[in-house]
């Protein structure tokens, strides 16, 4: 439901009623007056297009948390890439191991999905994801080289599921090494080992 019609005794009340049905804030909609008499106003509210909606939603979440964000949204074939920049508070927004960033990503996608079900969104803070991905790729490659040279297994630091996928993808390009994990939960560790064919 992206469009809703509502009535009220004046314009503000009509908009207010419509917002209640959609459960959004006024910044997220465009409105149009359908009819207006002395004691009743009828309005049509429609949700803004994805880019604008994404911007207003993110801005609201962050400003009500006390941050002063600068939000840049880019669109490519993979979907929307949303980069948040703040002054001196980026570390808080990323959190330990990207925990807060994950939470932001989750809440933003969850709220956007109500109106734009097929939208792909990637939330980032000051390019953290990009940096982390590049770092992990380089690290995986470097360790794989040592493993190939020495023939001994080596462990990586504990990774999140998504980080592990990045490492896996990179290692698939390198011949002679394989990857397996030991442990569970927080103590789960990724091991890079020489594969049998290289022996």
């Amino acid at each position: 439901m992206k469009v809703v019609e509502a009535t009220g005794s004046n314009l503000n009340e009509a908009i207010e009623n419509g917002l209640k049905i959609l459960r959004v804030r006024q910044e997220e909609v465009n409105y149009e007056i359908l009819s207006q008499t002395e004691d009743e106003v009828r309005v049509k509210l429609s949700i803004k297009e994805p880019r604008q909606h994404l911007y207003e939603l993110t801005k609201y979440i962050l400003t009500s948390c006390g941050f002063k964000p600068n939000i840049v949204i880019n669109k490519d074939e993979k979907g929307y890439y949303l980069n948040i920049k703040t002054r001196h508070t980026d570390a808080i927004l990323i959190g330990k191991k990207g925990e807060t960033l994950w939470a932001l990503q989750y809440i933003i996608t969850r709220l956007m999905k109500r109106f734009h079900p097929n939208l792909k969104i990637l939330v980032d803070v000051s390019g953290y994801r990009m940096r982390r991905t590049n770092f992990l790729r380089k690290k995986a490659e470097a360790i794989a080289r040592i493993v190939l040279k020495t023939g001994r297994e080596m462990a990586l630091d504990p990774l999140t599921r998504k980080e592990q996928l990045i490492v896996e993808k990179k290692l698939n390009e390198i011949k002679g090494v394989k990857l397996y994990t030991i442990g569970k939960g927080v103590s789960k560790n990724v091991i890079i080992a020489p594969s049998d064919e290289s022996k």
């Binding site: 209640k20 459960r23 959004v24 804030r25 609201y60 979440i61 009500s64 948390c65 006390g66 941050f67 508070t89 808080i92 927004l93 959190g95 925990e99 807060t100 994950w102 939470a103 932001l104 989750y106 809440i107 969850r110 709220l111 109500r114």
Partner: protein
């Protein structure tokens, strides 16, 4: 902050009218008491507690900026 919690939760539940957030502010910590209507508890907690965790993480980050701790209690 209170408004934000209310906004997020209202967007997720079936009975937005029954959502109520109370803020109890202490010197070093803030407690948010979130009440939701019958049957909406699961929607707020989410799969494996993901939604509740995400809300908690965001408010913790916001409070950290002011040097405070937060607790979010969810009550049906």
């Amino acid at each position: 902050m209170k408004d934000l919690i209310e906004y997020i939760v209202k967007a997720l539940v079936d009975n937005p009218d029954k959502v109520d957030v109370k803020e109890i502010a202490g010197e070093k910590s803030i407690i948010y008491e979130l009440r939701v209507g019958e049957g909406d508890l699961g929607k707020v907690i989410g799969k494996e507690g993901r939604t509740a965790k995400a809300i908690r993480t965001i408010i913790t980050a916001a409070a950290m900026k002011q040097g405070k701790r937060t607790v979010l209690e969810i009550i049906e």
